[in-house]
């Protein structure tokens, strides 16, 4: 399967010899399990170290070894990091996909292939370079069983030569990649050099693509969203994590484990946290609920199938009012769907997860920086509102490498919400767990183990009154549900506000999460190519804040761009907006499982504008 559909694209003069500097998409096509990850990271980092903005996206199969996988590196001087629809430079290492990979390219693209694949006869409108990898790898890597891995480093050298990537930076990237293994670093370095030398003497430059030093990545870091989230959770003071492995969420708890082992073991050698691999997601959320009830900062991470299993407990936590943080690293559903592809398909089902009248706070990060900050927001909101908070990340954000500004140390102290301690009870004499004392809908709770005879209350999912006593009285049930709704209304003014950029345009765009990166590029395309100005609101949370309503009011047409079939966020907006405004909403929805690209958005928006 090819990852692009470029058949639609015109040559647009790409055959003319011109220099295309710091603006290209390089795709490496390999076989899953062949160890190309290190080579691709080295390539990515080398470009990054040259100050050129980059992004790396791994398109992998649900398989451990043997199936095709593609890694795309985009270098872009303007800082665009969304997936680029067109591929400019292919490194074809996989015989199984090579033909289709080549056939789907736009004219003028470059192809670097393994000599035996013999691809150059396929098309006459591409630029081909062939490399005899097997011949080159043998002398640098005497150990036959390592050759399969080391072979991948040879293409790094060839690409470095062809694109003029500084070899000093490549060496630095290799030393970083193999920081603790000097021998491996040297071996890989000599492979890179072999590729470089081969290209220098055998491959005259015929493609127009070049990497040139810039200063746009100074001080930045490269990190995947799940690791950023893990750091965020650690600095948010998480004390309890339960999880059940599922792609694309597993690397989040795994990263927490790594960081916590390094930085959260006390001076006495004891752990200031508990991390449990649960037996399933039913148990993972049950443990979060138990730990949250008992006062821990508790969380779990999962993907759609896990969210489905958590539904019943989510309702209990909502109604019994128990804090907890759930990360949903979304992937393509329904069912097992495309487990290794990205999506925003859990928005509706998570917003209302469980039976009866339930609704939950959702936070939606678009970047590694936001994975870090929203981890902290999530715990604060969960404990402030005594409810579950879902952080809706996705595979693209969670598992891919992103450039980011270094994270800021949290300046606000940790707040644990309305919890009464023994001293408070001494003063008050007693309390009613579900009484709205402050008018914000939020009651006061006590933690089990509080040493006061009036501290205890009975937590239950069945009907209860203010004192949390069992009650089937209609008025008790109604009052309680209304109060819980008040909490949700209060939350509107506490959740992260949307990011809005408005001018005088009649056209508005609403998007969220990783779609953001395609939107900023698409808006530039619309302006430059069609002279169309657009305004933009990036949602960061549900429930919606005042700004969202304002934004729709200010625009004649509002395109809601999202990565699911059923326009899920648009549906949520419809429930919230005044009826008169609803007709302004239009859906641009994508469900192919690949990260959203700007071109698709631009094309679709122009079609819908009737142009």
């Amino acid at each position: 399967m090819a990852t692009t559909d470029v058949a639609l694209h015109e040559a647009s003069g790409r055959l003319e010899p011109k220099r295309v500097v710091n603006n290209m998409s390089i795709q490496v096509a390999t076989v899953n399990g062949s160890g190309s990850q290190s080579s691709n990271t080295v390539l990515l980092r080398s470009i990054f170290q040259m100050g050129v903005p980059v992004s790396g996206k791994n398109l992998f199969p649900s398989n451990i070894a043997g199936l095709p996988t593609w890694y795309t590196i985009r270098a872009n001087k303007d800082g665009y990091v969304a997936r680029k629809k067109e591929i400019d430079f292919v490194v074809a290492m996989n015989s199984e996909t090579a033909q289709e990979d080549v056939m789907s390219l736009a004219p003028g693209a470059a192809v670097l292939y393994d000599e035996p694949l013999n691809l150059s006869s396929l098309r006459s409108d591409l630029i081909f370079y062939s490399v005899p990898y097997d011949k080159l790898v043998a002398p640098v890597c005497p150990e036959a069983k390592l050759r399969k891995l080391v072979k991948n480093m040879i293409y790094v050298g060839v690409v470095a030569k062809l694109l003029e990537i500084d070899m000093g930076e490549v060496e630095k990237a290799i030393r970083k990649q193999f920081a603790k293994k000097a021998k491996a670093a040297n071996l890989n370095l000599s492979a890179v050099q072999a590729g470089y030398d081969y290209a220098a003497s055998n491959l005259p430059k015929r493609d127009p693509y070049f990497i040139q030093r810039m200063d746009k990545t100074q001080g930045k870091i490269i990190i995947d969203g799940n690791s950023a989230a893990a750091l965020g959770c650690m600095f948010a003071g998480v004390t309890f994590v339960s999880w059940y492995p599922i792609t694309p969420s597993s690397s989040l708890p795994e990263s927490i484990i790594e960081y916590m082992k390094r930085f959260r073991i006390g001076p006495d050698g004891k752990a200031t946290f508990a991390i449990i691999q649960a037996e399933d997601e039913l148990a993972a959320i049950g443990m979060v609920v138990g730990a949250g009830w008992a006062g821990a900062r508790a969380m779990t991470a999962t993907a759609g199938p896990g969210i489905s299993l958590m539904a019943e407990f989510a309702g209990l936590a909502y109604y019994a009012e128990i804090p907890g943080v759930i990360w949903d690293i979304q992937r393509v559903g329904p069912s097992t769907g495309l487990p290794t592809r990205t999506s925003q398909g859990d928005i509706l089902s998570t917003a209302f997860l469980s039976h009866g009248d339930t609704k939950h706070i959702l936070l939606i990060p678009c970047s590694a920086e936001e994975c870090f900050t929203m981890a902290q927001d999530a715990f604060e909101l969960a404990e402030q509102f005594q409810t579950l908070v879902f952080v809706m990340s996705d595979l693209d954000l969670g598992m891919n490498n992103w450039m980011a500004d270094p994270f800021h140390y949290p300046e606000k102290p940790i707040k644990r919400g309305k919890v009464l301690a023994k001293e408070d009870l001494d003063r008050l004499g007693g309390f009613a767990r579900y009484k709205d004392v402050d008018g914000d809908g939020i009651g006061y709770r006590t933690l089990p183990g509080t040493d006061h005879p009036a501290a205890a209350y009975f937590t239950r999912g069945s009907g209860h009154n203010e004192k949390s006593q069992y009650s089937e009285r209609p008025d008790d049930f109604e009052h309680n549900m209304e109060r819980i709704n008040r909490k949700f209304e209060t939350a509107r003014s506490f959740v992260p506000r949307p990011e809005v950029s408005t001018g005088k345009s009649k056209i508005g765009i609403i998007a969220y999460g990783t779609s953001h990166w395609a939107i900023i590029e698409s808006r530039d395309q619309l302006r430059k190519e069609y002279g169309i100005e657009t305004d933009y609101l990036r949602l960061r949370a549900f429930p919606f804040t005042r700004e969202v309503h304002e934004f729709v009011k200010q625009h004649d047409r509002v395109y809601v761009v999202e990565q699911n079939r059923d326009a899920q966020m648009l549906s949520l907006l419809k429930l919230d907006l005044e009826p008169a405004l609803i007709t302004r909403l239009r859906s641009i929805a994508h469900i192919h499982g690949l990260p959203l690209d700007a071109r698709s958005v631009t094309d679709e928006l122009m079609t819908m504008e009737g142009k």
Binding site: G266, G286, L447
Partner: protein, 346 residues
Amino acid sequence: MSTTPTSTPKLNRVGLSVVDYRGGKTTLCAGCGHNAISERIIDAMYEMGVAPERVAKLSGIGCSSKSPAYFMGRSHSFNAVHGRMPSVATGAMLANRNLLALGVSGDGDSASIGMGQFVHLMRRNLPMIYIIEDNGVYGLTKGQFSATADLGSKLKTGVINDLPPIDTCAMAITLGATLVGRSFSGDKKQLHSMLKAAIAHQGTVMLDVVSPCVTFNDHEGSTKSYKYMKDHDEPLQEISFVPVFEDIAVEYDPGSTVEVTMHDGSRLRLRKLEEDYDPTDRIKSITRLHEAHDAGEVLTGVFYVNTQTPSFIDLLNLTEQPLATLPESVVRPGREVLEQAMEELR
């Protein structure tokens, strides 16, 4: 001079009377075995001098799971979802290791919908007491068979159970629980001693307590009725418990009695009624349980006890202070840690 004959309530070692261990008025059927178990819990907790504030009661869904509302009103309680109390208990205990977790479940709650969580709780040896109030039916949904119903047992409607029962005790031992026994809600003395030992134990305690459902499963043909239990109960031992704070030296014959020293120094004494039963032999105890099934006996007593295996809390190397209340200075690493993490990513 005469003293007014006010009956001063007897206080336990934490200065509380038995009244302080009571809960709300039961809403279960009169005569339900579950009520008797609640009474035994009250007595055992009172006599052991457990501060009610330290206890966390946890339950799933069912008549049995409702019962925590009817004892120990001064303890926090969590009536969770059907079959999934073990996970809630796990989270709560790890959040606050100082709690004494008491789980109450039913045979439906544990052996069917909750089987997944039940087995994993047992295998973690989390410090908690887990009681299955076992009546062979789903009381709350009006009397359907549960997975502990014996082969050939009959419902009131005449329906015969033709599937073999799950022995939750044999399972618990196999999986790693460290104090496992069976009792009968009608055997006041045995259950009382077993509960006291349970309170002293540090690890997973699994007690299957046969607890007749007078409304749906107490008739002729039921194998979980009062009558059936009176006729078929085969106690393995005569159980007595000497708490650490009651420094009584009672002679016993090591030939006929097994004495187990619990974690807190209390002593569990098992006077053997079956000569070569050894409650510290894991494999043989499982075999004996299966033999009893085949012979149609209902074995009761302490089947297995092991005070050596580390608990889940030990395995996790948790800090002494409850995780729930660790201060910010402990749970938020300093600026230099973030700086270091950033540097590694540059």
